[in-house]
Amino acid sequence: MPAATRRSGGRGGRGPALALAALRRLAGMATTLLVTSFLVFSSLYLAPGDPVSFLVKGRSPSPQELDTIREQYGFNDPFPVRYWHWLEGVLQGDFGRSYLFHQGVGDVVWSRLPASLLLIGVSMLLIAVFGVGAGIVGALRRGTWADSTVLLMVTVGAAVPSFVAAILLRSVFGVQLGWFPTFGNGEGALDRLHHVVLPAIALSVTFTALVTRVTRTAMLDELRREHVEVALSRGIPRRSVIRRHVLRNALGPIVTVSALLVSGMLVSTALVETAFGMAGVGSLLVQAVSQQDFQVVQAIVLLVVAAFVLINALVDLLYPLIDPRVAAQGSAR
């Protein structure tokens, strides 16, 4: 019985436990990133295509010339040495140079970051508002036309890949109706926002559908719980019961599933940004892959993995606030 060991009220003793959990978590995250970096580095090392051929594009260099370039970029070193050099650089914030942009990789990625963050931020807002909102409506109006509409939209939305949504939105609202720009990032706050509307919708369609489904199911599960009937039997108004009990208890599954969706969303930004010609990290990744700019690819993959790991860690650490039955140990789930 945990009640015996974990003292009531739970205040005393919770701080150190939390700190320990956070530390353990950090160590786990570092390990994940290290393993990822190795996998990424080695898979690119093994990938077909020679970066040198790209560097000398258009010319036919002499064997000596080739050798100099190899030496200069360290391509002649054995694999472990090259990995170690790269890792050393990364730990000092140096991700190498981009062949494509003749710039430090850090600067290239950094300059593209704001556009992607804006896109992801707006999408998350849309997903949270419309996903949770539609889920609530569906659950509370179960079996009515409103619920049927929600279910239909969920089925359609979940089946539409983001790049298909991107193409459709762009041609209808961008090209034909001309309501939104169809290309680029925009200049200045308002213009940027205007530019990001269609991409954000395209990016959020699938995930909104998934969040709607989870919210609806979780709400219906909670509506059936006895504590809801108890609250009603005590004369608590229905609206308050929905908010304080049904939605509050449904929050656990909603947050858990949403956190899992983040990785898919980060990947989809590549397609959406490319479709709308946005200069973001996602379109940069596509470009770098196709042009074999491996340093950039490595940095972006690491960045995405880091973001994913960080978000999951945050969710795990904050989860006890949503469900106090889950001890603040991170690994308890």
Binding site: G235, P237, R238, D323, R325
Partner: protein, 333 residues
């Protein structure tokens, strides 16, 4: 005047072969302890919930439910709230399912006071602590800050009772308040309910499977079978001279409070489901006194016989000596 007066209440769900409740009558007066006994699925909980105006969704209602002269069938939300927050309250079978797991005990207790009564936080907390002390919890201030999973089942049932007392109700509906608890705790909770009834002059409706318990602790008993009240009398009378074959069977089948288990004689057969209907007496398939011809007509609703009232064609003939044969026949088993 009765505190609770249920008169000819029928509750019918569309698509079911028989009503969930069929012309139920039941009264509870101030200061009185009344038991409602019957097998699982006979409609005890539906009856108790009706006393709070909680009816199954989509059910057709007929008859009357009055609590202190407030008619609950078709009452508006404000009326229902008035009854639920100030006149009647319910204690449920499983306290762990009945209290939201993600909120503190203090939140649960003060919810109605603050949301409906408009009490300040401090005042509501003080009142909650007072109530926790009244139900015999040792450290009220600490319990207010605990989460449900940090308390034992017995403690949680006390919390439930405290919550029920919040609005100073005059009618307490107890739906199998001890079924989910171990034997020692059961006795404590029953003693607590008895004490509260005396101190506050409550009318108590106790729902239980255990007819011996009902006979030992209640003034009057209603016996329910397949949605109908089949017999009612004072506890002493019913215990000494059951007139309905089902009551006699229950008395024969429940283990005696003390002494050897010689009288244990379960009623053969299973209770009728909502999908089965009976043109005659619903108990006939299991009744050893069923008489072809007579018992395939529906028996009358409760009619006076002896000191109580019975719903059975053969109540006249089946005087207690006849039924008493049921009890000691365990030798031939």
């Amino acid at each position: 005047m009765a505190l609770l007066d249920i008169d000819a209440l029928s509750v019918t769900l569309p698509g079911m072969a028989r009503p969930i409740l069929d012309r139920i009558e039941l009264t509870v007066a101030a200061g009185e302890t009344v038991a409602l006994v019957g097998e699982s699925g006979s409609g005890k909980s539906v009856t108790a919930r009706a006393a709070l105006g909680l009816f199954p969704a989509g059910a057709d209602l007929a008859g009357r439910v009055r609590v202190e002269d407030i008619d609950l069938v078709g009452a508006d939300a404000a009326r229902l709230r008035e009854v639920r927050t100030g006149i009647a309250a319910m204690i449920f079978q499983d306290p762990r399912a009945g209290i939201s797991p993600v909120r503190r005990i203090g939140d649960f207790l003060t919810e109605a006071l603050r949301l409906v009564g408009g009490w300040s936080r401090a005042r509501a907390d003080a009142r909650a602590a007072e109530l926790l002390a009244a139900v015999g919890l040792p450290d009220p201030e600490r319990h207010l800050r605990q989460f449900p999973h940090e308390m034992s089942g017995g403690m949680l049932q006390r919390v439930m009772i405290a919550a029920a007392l919040c609005g100073e109700p005059r009618l307490l509906l107890c739906d199998e308040p001890t079924t989910a608890l171990d034997v020692a705790t059961q006795a404590e909770i029953l003693a607590l309910l008895g004490r509260l009834r005396r101190e506050r002059d409550l009318g108590l409706l106790l729902i239980t499977h255990d007819i011996e318990l009902a006979a030992a602790s209640c003034d009057r008993i209603y016996v329910m079978y397949a949605g109908r009240i089949v017999e009612t009398a004072t506890a002493d009378e019913l215990f000494a001279r059951p007139r309905h074959p089902y009551t006699a069977g229950l008395l024969g089948s429940s283990p005696p409070q003390e002494g050897p288990l010689t009288r244990l004689a379960p009623i053969p057969g299973a209770p009728m489901s909502l999908l089965e209907s009976a043109t005659g007496c619903a108990f006939a398939p299991r009744c050893r006194f069923a008489e072809p011809g007579r018992c395939d007509q529906a028996p009358p609703v409760l009619e006076p016989h002896g000191a109580g009232r019975v719903a059975c064609h053969r109540a006249d003939e089946l005087e207690p000596p006849v039924l008493a044969h049921l009890a000691p026949d365990s030798e031939d088993r």
